[in-house]
Point group: C2
Chain length 131, copies 2
């Protein structure tokens, strides 16, 4: 079934990220990948993810909810991480923060071709201000 195919692909993609297996990223991400409407390409996508892991040493992607149909994946990711410095434009500076990302992926030829991500930066700001 296609549903099983795309959720399996997605879980393998998340494992690839968590294992920093950058040489495998092209198995999951299309060469002309677009992130929130901007075509950044596989190299740009890889560089962005590598930078995140440098800036957030304990970065880990945890799938909280996951559904898919023939071409689209929807995932709610949970993060509990400690960014070194600024994150999402906010001065996190080594504090531990928890937040979610709700993200849709459009797939072509069994690879992720478009990402539509929204991160709950309001939750991060609230944690930093002690609310």
């Amino acid at each position: 079934m296609p549903e099983i195919g795309l959720t399996a692909l997605y879980r393998a993609y998340i494992d690839c990220l968590n294992n920093r297996a950058w040489h495998d990223l092209g198995r999951y991400i299309a060469e002309d990948i677009a992130y929130n409407g901007n075509t950044i390409g596989l190299d740009g996508y890889r560089q962005a993810r590598e930078a995140e892991f440098r800036n957030i040493p304990d970065l880990h992607f945890k799938i909280q909810m996951l559904i898919a149909d023939d071409t689209t994946i929807a995932s709610r990711l949970a993060f509990d991480i400690t960014p070194r410095a600024e994150f999402l434009g906010l001065p996190v500076n080594g504090r531990r923060i928890s937040f979610a990302e709700n993200v849709f992926y459009e797939c072509e030829n069994d690879r992720i071709a478009k990402v539509w991500s929204i991160i709950d930066n309001v939750a991060v700001a609230a944690q930093l201000s002690g609310r």
Copy 2:
């Protein structure tokens, strides 16, 4: 098929909102509905939606992406609206803004019981600052 069932339920729910058919809301929303982890109940949920339509006269929910499995719905909603005053804590004050919401719904007994919503307030802030 359950997938067809929940996507049909969801489209009917969105029509209910867009038509301000508040008396029908209980067909789609559980009595003990929780929004982002807070149990607000059907009455609280209805009051929140009614307040949004008062504060945003041209409020319209447009489904951009929609997938579902047996119990979960994922939707990307597109908004192109003109809030009268403050919106998402930002001084919109009658300007027209466009943004998306990525939202998951957990269903029980053919009603939405839990909502996990993230709104792209960064896009709204960028539009207000002219970026």
